[in-house]
């Protein structure tokens, strides 16, 4: 008996160390990736490159945040990638029409963004409705919305990217918060006069995309960690029956969660429009939803629900971005990135299976 107790004690000591790592493997992988690539890849650790990785990962980060909320409840959302395309196309179409009718710029941007976000929330809530009231498996409900959103986006855009929208859009989307040149001093948001954005000796700091997803992150992390809504999500993922007994209004929660995922996908779509300056529908080959899910899984969330952190999912997506950039910088053929992401996902899950969470 005594030995049994002692062994238990030892276990808890070990367990404590293991508990620090469980669900946080992504940071160790990240550390390894940075170490390896800073040796093998030239210019990997440049400030410019790191900013670039973050800038290019923005869309996936926002989608991964959306996916985290759904996956923690034990569901899955396959429609986010197509909602992204639908939002981008809808906003672009409205802008194109209003721009042709010569409405003032802030007004037309506001209208287009608002209308497209409403549409994205509507599609998200529809999945939520099907899951909540008709007990459809989330996989099916969101796959259905995948088709609907894809078809609508293709119909609106007629299968071509939508251009002839205000050119200022891409300027806003690709600007940096700070520009600095030793002889001209600091300037905010716009490059110093007489200099183009591409000029080589201009020092650019903090892409506007960082601020955009930073704001989204702050709000969503607050929602997830500090509100009753967030605690309900984790409770539902841990045990639906218990959550129901505890008096959580499941139907209401499901609709809100999928609507939130739709809204976040909409934000990603709006950002895509601002970044590219052209309204693009989502192509099959983009596979946004799958890469977002990969980020969430690499970040240590369980598809069974009940476990996952918004910030870890962001780290997971950043790790994928680092892999792509690092492999490219090391001169490895770009196709290896697909293989690398696949291997990384399996590794992340196996690590968590070997060191299970005992809390």
């Amino acid at each position: 008996m005594a030995t049994h107790l002692m062994s238990l004690d030892q276990n808890t000591g070990k367990q404590k160390i293991a508990n620090i790592f469980t669900g946080n493997w992504v940071y160790i992988f990240m550390f390894l990736a940075i170490t390896v690539f800073s040796f093998t890849g030239r210019g990997f650790l440049n400030l410019g490159n790191i900013q670039n990785i973050i800038h290019l990962s923005t869309i996936l980060i926002i989608l991964a945040v959306a996916e985290t909320f759904v996956i923690v409840t034990g569901g899955i959302d396959l429609s986010v990638g197509m909602i992204l395309g639908l939002t981008s196309v809808t906003a672009a179409k409205i802008m194109q029409l209003m721009y042709a009718a010569q409405y003032p710029l802030p007004f037309l941007i506001g209208c287009a963004v608002l209308a497209s976000l409403v549409l994205s929330v509507a599609i998200g809530s529809l999945s939520g409705l099907l899951v909540a009231y008709y007990n459809l498996p989330p996989f099916i409900a969101t796959l259905g919305m995948w088709g609907v959103a894809n078809g609508l986006a293709l119909k609106i855009s007629d299968g071509y990217p939508i251009s002839f929208i205000p050119p200022q859009l891409a300027e806003i989307g690709n600007s940096f918060l700070l520009y600095h040149r030793p002889d001209k001093g600091l300037s905010f948001l716009f490059p110093p006069e007489g200099l183009s954005r591409q000029s080589a000796d201009l020092f650019k700091l903090i892409p506007i995309s960082c601020i955009y997803f930073g704001l989204i992150l702050v709000v969503t992390i607050y929602l997830f960690n500090m509100t009753r809504f967030g605690r309900h999500i984790v409770a539902m993922g841990g045990n639906v029956e218990a959550a129901k007994r505890a008096g959580i209004n499941l139907k209401n929660r499901y609709i809100k969660i999928y609507a939130l995922a739709g809204l976040l996908a909409g934000f990603a779509g709006v950002f895509d429009l601002f970044q590219v300056g052209v309204g693009n529908f989502t192509r099959f080959s983009a596979m946004y939803e799958l890469f977002a899910i990969a980020g969430v899984v690499i970040g240590g969330a369980s598809l069974m629900g009940g476990r996952g952190k918004v910030i870890n999912s962001v780290a997971g997506v950043l790790l994928i971005g680092m892999l792509e950039s690092g492999l490219l910088a090391s001169g490895v053929e770009p196709y290896f990135r697909f293989i690398a992401v696949g291997v990384l996902m399996i590794l992340a899950v196996i690590m968590d299976n070997i060191f299970p969470d005992r809390n």
Binding site: V148, L152, E333, G342
Partner: protein, 355 residues
């Protein structure tokens, strides 16, 4: 009183019967609708085209059916198909380049592809059963790996210079019939003057696909393999207690799934005389939708190959019908999404009335 009860009972069972067979009823209505609305839809050549170009989807849907019956899902089938098409065409091109006769090269290429491209399935099975990686994650990872390997083999260019014989095998028909002279020839296209009418019957590729599908249908319905598959999907724990080696059987199922996909890839490379890494991308979600329309449940334990084939036909008839109507195929996606949701809703309603 008794009469009334019987009446409601029969009404319910009629509804249930419709609910259970709604997919085939829907298919018949769909064919009727397009035959009435679209000119020349109800014709033999169109049906033959549907049977020919549906081949990759049929094979992937059968693969997906078996995996979904066990309660899993296989996202890798699309890219395993692509990988197989690349491996097959590349092997054939390399072998013929080395001076081996086209017949031998094609035979070796096919066998090599079927063996080597079943390996992703074995790996999927091992990780899912022994390492407890969720099927969605494991097969998605394999999807990335298969895609990467296929692109690495290709190196950015599609495979070219396949021998002419491959085209002959992939695009010929079982029977050719000359209506003018009543001449019939088997497998070999008769040489005729330009402008002479030739009726071609039953594409070779379709025959090959349906032989494979029939084999797996037999395995699933009449052998221990099938019973174990349903048992694991129904209740894995009780299957284990009943003496089923769950882990080993799951490996078999995922391997069969990869094998079916690689058959699809081989046929693809013969049909289109090339290999493409992303050949099966667009079929992946269609295959899942077809299986679900066919009555399978993602929870496992339910589903038939017959049902999945009906699901496939619903999708392909929809696509071809819309195209013949001149409607943009964009509407197809909306329709597929709606049909998918309705299929599951009907399924749920029917089950409720049963119990």
């Amino acid at each position: 009183m008794e009469n009334g009860l019987a009446k409601t009972g029969s009404g319910k069972s009629l509804l249930n019967a419709i609910g259970r067979n709604w997919a085939i009823i829907f298919l018949v209505l769909e064919v009727l609708f397009f035959s009435l609305v679209a000119k020349r839809f109800f014709s033999f050549p169109i049906f033959q085209i549907i049977l020919l170009y549906g081949v990759p989807l049929f094979l992937l849907a059968v693969a997906q059916t078996m995996v979904i019956i066990t309660g899993g899902i296989d996202l890798s089938i699309g890219f395993v198909l692509g990988l197989a098409s690349v491996v097959c065409s590349k092997t054939i091109v390399v072998l013929t380049g080395a001076g081996i006769s086209p017949e031998a090269a094609i035979a070796v290429g096919i066998v090599f592809t079927l063996v080597s491209c079943s390996i992703p399935g074995v790996i999927n099975g091992i990780f899912i059963s022994y390492f407890k990686v969720p099927p969605l994650i494991q097969t998605f990872a394999m999807f990335g790996i298969a895609h990467g390997v296929a692109e690495l083999i290709l190196g950015g260019v599609w495979v070219k210079n396949m021998p002419h014989l491959a085209n002959k095998i992939g695009n010929s028909y079982l029977l050719y019939f000359l209506p003018d002279t009543n001449h019939i020839s088997l497998l070999v296209k008769p040489v005729v003057e330009r402008g002479t009418e030739i009726v071609s019957l039953i594409p070779n590729v379709t025959i090959a696909a349906f032989v494979v599908i029939a084999f797996f249908n037999f395995k699933l319905n009449h052998t221990r393999f099938g019973r174990y598959t349903y048992a694991i999907g129904g209740n894995a724990a009780s299957a284990l207690r009943a003496g089923v080696k769950n882990n080993l059987h799951l490996i078999k199922v995922y391997t069969a799934s990869a094998f079916l996909s690689s058959v699809g890839g081989v046929l693809y490379s013969l049909m289109f005389v090339t290999g493409k890494g992303d050949a099966g991308t667009s079929f992946l979600l269609d295959a899942i939708v077809a299986v679900v329309i066919g009555g399978a449940s993602l929870m496992g334990g339910k589903g038939t190959i017959r049902g999945s084939m009906i699901g496939c036909f619903i999708l392909i008839v929809l696509e071809n019908g819309l195209r013949m109507l001149g409607v943009s195929t964009f509407d197809k996606y909306i329709a597929v999404g709606v049909i998918l949701v309705i299929a599951v809703l009907i399924d749920k309603a029917t089950v409720k009335e049963d119990t």
